[in-house]
């Protein structure tokens, strides 16, 4: 993988990436202290954040993401971390779906044997903004990468 340096320029024409995904100045990974962010945050009533307690078993992340893939749901953000109980992990999952779809995906999720508890979190937009801040680092998606993403 070549993600640690700039992407080479594509040798043929590729669709132009939306402005939002253009790096403001350079394609180098942003250093701390930079204030410009790639995408403005818009409130979205189809944005939901779930806090999911799962058994801390190997493979549990794969199982949860396979479920989203299988039911044709796209995950916007996903964070996994430990809890005070070393047998239990917490996943915070942000999805862009309407309420009905959310109900469907959570009922499927709830059936997973390793999923212990699911709760919807109140401020999905704020959570997503914070996750974006944490995750918005590294090289910018330009050229072929950005094209592939759309």
């Amino acid at each position: 993988m070549t993600l640690l340096h700039d992407y080479p320029l594509p040798d043929r024409d590729v669709p132009t990436a939306p402005e939002a995904h253009r790096p403001p100045t350079s394609t180098l990974p942003r250093r701390s202290g930079t204030t410009t962010k790639g995408t403005p945050m818009r409130p979205d009533r189809n944005r939901h954040a779930l806090s999911v307690l799962v058994e801390n078993n190997p493979g549990v992340l794969a199982r949860v993401s396979v479920l989203f893939a299988r039911r044709n749901f796209n995950i916007d953000h996903l964070v996994v971390g430990p809890t005070e109980d070393n047998k239990v992990s917490r996943m915070t999952i942000v999805v862009n779906v309407n309420a009905e779809q959310l109900h469907k995906v959570t009922s499927q999720l709830d059936k997973l044997v390793e999923v212990i508890h699911i709760q919807e979190l109140d401020d999905a937009d704020a959570i997503r903004t914070q996750l974006w801040e944490i995750n918005d680092n590294g090289p910018r998606p330009v050229g072929a990468m950005a094209a592939a993403a759309f």
């Binding site: 307690l53 396979v66 893939a69 469907k104 009922s107 999923v115 508890h117 709760q119």
Partner: protein, 607 residues
């Protein structure tokens, strides 16, 4: 979501400990036990009597522990897919958990199709696979495959065990998971070193705090459902495979007779309500009866009992039963409201749910509540008598496949078990055999797996040695798994196979005839010449018979019925051009059902 916040210390054991625990790590005389020995002990404890499997390097320790293991019969199959479907047939015929066993890598991946099949049709099976030693996991070792991950989307759950101490508890938990709640396949993948090492074994059952299968619906929901049933004018009981899995057939009948509502049984529920019953409108769906399709389509209330509104039943969703409210009873919360908005959801086991409906209905009617379905029932009976199932004799004088299947049903009788493949013959076997009892009709409904019939029949025969078991198979399907005839011949499992040989992948050909201008791309088979099914059967140590004419059908079936010490294969050479009717063309509305080619029934005026 009904979830409430919990702290981690309030997370308790969500599993009901019904499966026995383990052996305590030592045998009676105090010698330490290996993981493999503990596994066999646990199988015995949870009541396993039969295993279908095929060995290989990674499971050698387990096969050694099985060698001469008392009380467990291992049946050596010829292909792991056969082991999986045999476990399914075993489970579907009895309700017991079926067990299959395979080695790592290709052995395990060969189980994927039966796992997916069992997942779709909610069949309780446990698949045990060996894997390479834990020290080699992740190194692309010889015959290493990550079957735990591969099977994730097609199992109820899958375990990967690397420590001998966890084997007994995991196996016990796997059986509990497979059989409880909505039944399904569970895979346990165990590394070879865990099988060979000595276990100290402190775990009795895995905690599984997240596993809480539903039990009975809330009383308010039951009251609401009965209220809707009483006020409905055109209700229908839509009975699905859940009523078979939950042993709810008696309750279904009691509810039907108590209320007088018309009943439809899905492909998965054939036999959950007697076909001969006057309230039975038949099977709904793409190849269902006109009366069953019309009863759903024109209803004002659908009481769904363990069914899941599959697209093969509903046709185009936007025009399915436009006037109907839905009461949906299911053990799986994710099914309720999955495909259609539901008025009342009844979350729980079908048997206890229906029992509660019966009690509430009885209470309400005793208090004087009235209902009136007379006009509706008359209308349903009208459809049933005006549009019965039927078929045309082939114009070329060839044998009608429907006739063969009809005679098989009559001559084998209501106690026989039928397992079918997938295709035209499957639809005819569902349509033209009368099912009076549950667990007599085994088929691959959700996944539609060609090759299911022969191994599933084998599994059913092992479970029910006293019953006649017929596989009704297509010439295409049969060629996918007929190697298990060798297993049947060698192991003394005298199943009977009726090949409905139309020299075609007939269902594919039918679609091409109807929707692709008769361009029969890759759907014709030379099955009248290759293979020669009768000599193939003989090569496998079975009796091979052939029948081409109507006059010979009964005699041939009787000849096959007379053999009970050997498997029998009958090659019924039938018309190449017969089609399955009625039919709702894929993607169209149920209203567009044709009871015969280009003939659309008249449902009559709405009230």
């Amino acid at each position: 979501m009904t979830a409430t916040p919990v702290s981690s210390d309030s997370i308790t054991d969500g599993a009901t400990v019904t499966a026995p625990g383990s052996t305590g790590g030592r045998s009676a005389d105090g010698t330490p036990r290996t993981g493999a020995e503990q596994l066999v002990d646990t199988l015995r404890r949870v009541g396993v009597e039969h295993i279908f499997g095929l060995p290989g390097g990674a499971v050698l320790p387990l096969y050694d522990a099985l060698y001469e293991a008392e009380g467990i019969r291992h049946i050596l199959v010829r292909h792991e897919q056969g082991a999986g479907h045999a476990a399914q047939g075993y489970a579907a015929a009895t309700g017991k958990v079926g067990v299959c066993l395979a080695t790592s890598g290709p052995g395990a991946t060969n189980l994927v199709t039966p796992l997916a099949d069992a997942n779709m049709d909610s069949v309780p099976i446990v698949a045990i696979t060996g894997n390479v030693a834990s020290t080699a996991i992740g190194s692309d070792a010889f015959q290493e495959a990550d079957i735990r991950s591969i099977s994730m989307p097609v199992t109820k759950h899958s375990f990967f065990v690397t420590r001998p101490d966890e084997i007994a508890a995991t196996i016990a938990s796997a059986f509990h998971l497979a059989a409880s709640g909505r039944p399904g396949p569970v895979l346990v993948d165990i590394t070879k070193d865990a099988l060979t090492a000595h276990a100290t074994d402190e775990l009795r059952q895995l905690p599984m705090p997240g596993y809480r299968p539903a039990s009975v619906p809330a009383p308010q929901e039951v009251r609401d459902a009965v209220e809707l049933m009483l006020t409905a004018r055109r209700p229908v009981l839509y009975v699905g495979g859940g009523c078979i899995r939950a042993e709810a057939h008696e309750q279904v009948r009691a509810l039907a007779e108590l209320t007088g509502m018309p009943v439809v049984t899905t492909l998965m529920a054939r036999g959950a309500f007697p076909d001969s019953h006057p309230q039975h409108m038949g099977m709904p769906g793409m190849h269902g009866t006109v009366s069953a399709v019309a009863a759903l389509q024109k209803s004002d209330l659908i009481v769904s009992l363990g069914a899941r509104f599959d697209d093969r039943v509903t046709g185009a969703k936007d025009s399915f039963a436009p006037g109907a409210k839905i009461v949906h009873a299911d053990i799986d919360p994710a099914e309720i409201g999955k495909n259609f908005p539901t008025e009342v959801g009844l979350l729980g086991d079908a048997r206890s749910t229906i029992q509660l409906l019966i009690t509430e209905w009885t209470r309400r009617t005793a208090e004087g509540a009235t209902y009136d379905y007379a006009a509706w029932n008359a209308r349903c009976r009208g459809w049933k008598s005006r549009y019965p199932l039927g078929y045309d004799e082939p114009s070329d004088g060839a044998l009608a496949p429907q006739y063969v299947i009809e005679r098989l049903g009559v001559l084998a009788g209501p106690d026989a078990i039928f397992a079918s493949g997938v295709g035209q013959h499957q639809m005819w076997a569902s349509q033209f055999i009368g099912y009076e009892q549950p667990r007599r009709w085994l088929n691959s409904g959700g996944l539609g797996t060609m090759g299911y019939a022969v191994p599933a029949a084998m599994g059913a025969k092992v479970a029910m040695p006293g019953s006649t078991v017929w596989a009704i198979d297509g010439d295409g399907c049969f060629q996918m798994t007929n190697q298990e005839l060798a297993t049947c011949a060698v192991e003394g499992i005298p199943i009977k196979v009726a090949i409905i040989n139309n020299a075609a992948l007939g269902m594919v050909k039918q679609w091409q005839a109807l929707f692709y201008s008769e361009r029969f791309s890759a759907s014709q088979l030379p099955s009248a010449q290759i293979p020669d099914f009768t000599t193939l059967a003989q090569a496998y140590g079975c009796v091979g018979l052939r029948c081409d004419t109507r006059e010979d059908v009964d005699r041939t079936i009787e000849q096959a019925m007379a053999v009970d010490d050997q498997p029998v294969v009958v090659d019924f050479r039938v018309s190449k051009d017969s089609m399955v009717w009625p039919m709702v063309p894929a993607g169209t509305s149920n209203d567009a059902i044709q009871h015969a080619r280009d003939l659309t029934p008249d449902f009559g005026e709405d009230e």
